[in-house]
């Protein structure tokens, strides 16, 4: 296995000692098939045990290891060293407060994910005991891509709208709302409209599109938000004209 030396510049912040973050450089002997997470793990195991960061699965499933790699929000388990220059800067995800080193505070987005009511809302009686909500493949295809989100929050780190004003509900939470709005089993679209069509909802998005470009799971939150703008406008006029809402 070919070994390559990587100069890993890592942002450090210890809330008990530091007033502001600073950068520490480690020289890491990497295998060519390593990802950035492997290099960070090497630092933790061999060079500096004080380094704090989140990770779990190492296979793009858990969504914990999102960081800024040379200024770009990415999953460190997905970013191969062979695709990067010899000097790599790793920082905690932008637009979030830094708890310590590479760990960010995610409380705000956790509340936002909850706020959009990301669950199936039914207005009628539940199906009989031996019945179930039937969904066709075509109906599933309408939102399946949106179910791929792993809450890595790279989209929030890429979104300048959220960076400038974090009242904005933001890409992942809005995409999650759209996932339920588009689910043929759900009847809660009008319930979510108050949150989604509010000042901090879909209209705060100016379609920079960065969220979709950095999304490691190709969820395309920007598309979901634009579709919600269309749906919201249609729903608004339907309500104005007294037409009952339904699934489109």
């Amino acid at each position: 296995m070919k070994i390559r030396e990587l100069e890993l510049e890592v942002m450090r912040y210890d809330p008990e000692k530091d007033d502001e973050p600073w950068f520490q450089t480690y020289t890491v002997p990497c295998n060519e098939d390593w990802v950035i997470l492997d290099a960070i793990n090497y630092v933790k195991d061999n060079l500096d045990t004080t380094l704090a960061y989140r990770w779990s699965c190492h296979m793009m499933v858990c969504g914990s290891c999102g960081m800024m790699i040379n200024g770009e929000p990415s999953l460190t388990c997905k970013t191969f060293i062979r695709d990067l220059p010899d000097k790599v800067r790793v920082e905690p995800l932008e637009n979030f407060p830094v708890e310590r080193d590479l760990v960010v505070v995610l409380d705000d987005v956790m509340q936002k994910l909850h706020k959009v009511q990301p669950y199936i809302i039914r207005k009628d009686d539940p199906p009989a005991e031996d019945q179930e909500y039937i969904q066709s493949r075509g109906a599933l295809a309408k939102f399946k891509q949106l179910t791929m989100c792993i809450n890595c929050m790279c989209c929030y780190a890429a979104c300048p709208q959220y960076g400038l004003d974090n009242n904005f509900i933001g890409p992942a939470a809005l995409a999650l709302a759209h996932r339920y709005n588009k689910d043929s089993r759900d009847q809660g679209q009008s319930d979510r409209l108050d949150i989604l069509a509010d000042y901090d909802g879909v209209w705060d998005c100016s379609f920079v599109g960065a969220c979709s470009e950095v999304c490691p799971k190709h969820v395309d939150p920007a598309a979901a938000i634009q579709q919600m703008k269309v749906d919201g406008a249609v729903e608004f006029w339907k309500q104005k004209m007294g037409i009952p809402g339904d699934k489109s």
Binding site: Y13, P15, E16, D18, E20, P21, G71, E72, E94, N95, P97, V98, E99, V105, R137, G138, A141, K142, A158, P160, G163, L164, S206, F207, V208, G209, A210, S212, E213, D220, A222, A223, Q226, Q227, K229, V230
Partner: protein, 132 residues
């Protein structure tokens, strides 16, 4: 142990310098100045037309035919083309996906549809203006 999260703020004046993606976005959004300019120009033209004074209308037409204005209009057209029309047509399938059964209509269909509509509308306007 007490928590003391460090907040990194985003500059409200220079945030778009952070990466190329933001710069392209701002170039797209800057077309709004040109949109505003052409709105005012249309209002001027309508006011000249509504004034019932052929002199005023002719003066307006003359003001748009100078070399400087022609160059400006040509540059504005190019700017709109590269930073408004093309980006928005490219993004159109995101806002208006078309699903047929289980499959999505390929994005290229929607994008090409927009260009075709653009050519037809442009041809109509040229015909209206007596150019073709």
């Amino acid at each position: 142990m007490s928590r003391k999260p460090y907040v990194r703020t985003m500059s409200t004046t220079t945030w778009y310098m952070r990466n190329g993606r933001y710069k392209v976005y701002v170039l797209r959004e800057l077309t709004s100045f040109l949109v505003a300019f052409y709105c005012f120009l249309t209002i001027f033209a309508l006011a000249a037309l509504a004034s019932d004074s052929p002199d005023r209308w002719n003066a307006f037409l003359a003001s748009q035919q100078g070399t400087g204005m022609v160059i400006f209009h040509a540059l504005a057209l190019l700017y709109f083309l590269f930073f408004q029309t093309m980006p928005w047509f490219k993004l159109a399938p995101k806002a208006m996906p078309v699903q047929l059964g289980e499959k999505k209509l390929p994005d290229s269909f929607i994008i090409i549809g927009h260009y075709v509509a653009w050519v037809i509308l442009s041809a109509f306007i040229f015909w209206l203006a007596g150019v073709i």
